[in-house]
Amino acid sequence: MPDKLSFQKTFRALERAISIAQQRHSLISSNISNLDTSNYKAKDINFKTALAQVLESDHEINLARTNPKHIGLGTNSANSIEPFEEKGEWNGYNWVNIDKEMTKLAENNLRYRTATETLLRKIALLKEVIREGGR
C-alpha cells in the first residue's frame, strides 16, 4: 500500500471481506447445484473466523523467498481458508438443506454488497478530499 494515511487498515479488511464472500458464494452455488446428488455433503466457510484469520495473517512478517523451495514463516493467507462440511440432516438422499442454502446465499450476497458499498463510500470520501483540496 503506497500511502498509509489514505489507505488504512479498513481498505485491506474490506478487500479481504469481499474476497472471502466471493469464495463462500462459490461454495454455496456448488451446494445448490448438487441438491440432488446422492450422499453429497454441503460445504461452507465461516465468514467471521475466515476474515479474522486472514487479517491476522496479514500482520505476519513474510520472509523473502529467493528459491521456491524456501519455507515461509506462516501459511499464505487467502489460500489457507479451509471449507468444512456442514453437519446437515440426512434427508433420505443427501445432507443438503435447500432452504438453508438459499438463506445463506441471500445472507452472503448482503455481506458482499455491504463490503463493496463501504469500500465505495470510502473511495468517494477520498475523491472528495482530492477535489476539495485542490481548490
Binding site: I18, A21, Q22, Q23, H25, S26, L27, I28, S29, S30, I32, S33, N34, L35, D36, T37, S38, Y40, K43, I45, A78, N79, I81, P83, I98, E101, M102, L105, A106, N109, Y112, R113, T116, E117, L119, L120, I123
Partner: protein
C-alpha cells in the same frame, strides 16, 4: 475471476436439472408403452448424479467448490404393473398385460423437485450477477 466459476457451477446445475426433466418427460410419455425394442414393457429411467470438480482454477479446486454432472441414466428394476386385458396383443396366456413401472405421482413429484432445483440455481446465478455488478461499481 471467481464469479465466472460460480456461474459455471450453477450452469452445471441447470443442465443436469434439464436433463432430468427430459428423463421424466420420457417416463411420462411412455407410461402405457407395453412393448419396446429390447422386449417387455418400458422401464422407468432415473438420473444418477455426482459432484463434478470445476476445471483449471486451482483456487476453487482448493476450496472444493464443485459443479454437478450426470453419471449415468439407469433403469428402475422394480416389478412391472399388471393389468388384466386378455384382448391386448401383449397379453400373456393368463390374460395379463405387463405395464411400465412408471408411477405417475412419483414422476410428478420428481418433476416439481427438478423445477424447484432449477429455480434455485437460477436464483444463485442472479445473486452472482448482482455481486459481480456491484464489484464493477468500485472506484466509480
Amino acid at each position: 475471476m471467481n464469479f465466472l466459476q460460480s456461474l459455471e457451477i450453477s450452469a452445471t446445475g441447470l443442465y443436469v436439472q434439464r436433463r432430468r426433466m427430459d428423463v421424466i418427460a420420457s417416463n411420462l410419455a411412455n407410461i402405457e408403452t407395453t412393448h419396446t425394442k429390447e422386449g417387455g414393457p418400458y422401464r422407468r429411467k432415473m438420473v444418477v448424479m455426482s459432484p463434478k470438480p470445476v476445471e483449471d482454477f486451482d483456487k476453487v479446486l482448493a476450496l472444493k467448490a464443485e459443479g454437478v454432472k450426470i453419471d449415468d441414466i439407469v433403469e428402475d428394476k422394480s416389478p412391472f404393473r399388471k393389468a388384466y386385458n386378455p384382448s391386448h396383443p401383449d397379453a400373456n396366456k393368463n390374460g395379463y398385460v405387463l405395464k411400465p413401472n412408471v408411477d405417475l405421482i412419483l414422476e410428478i413429484t420428481n418433476m416439481l423437485m427438478a423445477r424447484r432445483a432449477f429455480e434455485a440455481n437460477i436464483a444463485a446465478i442472479k445473486s452472482t450477477k448482482q455481486m459481480a455488478l456491484k464489484a464493477l461499481e468500485i472506484g466509480k
